[in-house]
Amino acid sequence: MPGEPFIPTYLSLQTVRASAALAGAGAWDATPTELYSTTFCFVTFYMSYTRGGAAGAFDFTLEVSPYSVDVAGVEDWFRQGIIAGGAVAAAADTTSLTQRENVSYGATAAPIENYVYGPVELRGTVERLRMPCAETGNVGAPGTVHIVAMFT
């Protein structure tokens, strides 16, 4: 990376997923691209989806790692969680729920559709991230996904 300062305030655009068709039969991307995110505070994903057939939809999930490289013998990748805050009632502890989260996007028409996801907070606590995708709507005619991300 000659000449490129790798600091939190530097705007860095990276390709998360090169434009390509999703895998058949609803399979997740087998080898999603890993991006280094050390020292960055936020990431915003710019998503493009072109359905492969009627009723096309796809899922993506954000996975992060606290390690700069895979470490043998430990878990390296962790999926984003979603939290549903429990009801708060006076004089009682609250139990909230958290589970792993996939995010689904369904096409509304045949042309390419672009939308943004984020900014997602990293706050300097994520070493790497990746975003596997899978066709979920029309698994017999998977669509095409392209994702770039801006790190700040």
Binding site: P66, E75, F78, R79, I83, G86, T94, G124, T125, V126
Partner: protein, 151 residues
Amino acid sequence: MLPNIPTYLQLQTVRASAALELLSAWDTATELYCPEFNFVTFYLSYTEGAPSGIFEFRLEVSPYTVDLGVGQSWFQQGIIAGGGVVAATDTTSLTQRENMSYGAVGAAIENFVYGPVELRGAVQRLRMPCRETAGGAPLTPGTVHIVATFA
């Protein structure tokens, strides 16, 4: 010697991989020092001990570097439900202590992330007790492993 500054990424083990206590007892959590850090993100791994396994965790923090001889040293995270705002009327919001629950979806290890949580230099120590919930599999508790990155 690691530089203890806000922008330095520091990885620590919050809970070594081990089975939870029987009968839904909370474990004795490791205390981690976090002065000067702004954020912490927790990386959690849970393997159920039996079908329908569920575990709970909670974040506890302390404004003191060591436990006080007298007084309260540890404080559980709170959740706030904002009350309705009506003109010309005071609002009463609710806050209570919060536990977080995660239920396994399969038998294999499941990894998820919690955070980043804001510390903003206002927390001296933290810990994260865990337990298999009574509604999970309290007689065959699962295994939990937690690491955290501080920045």
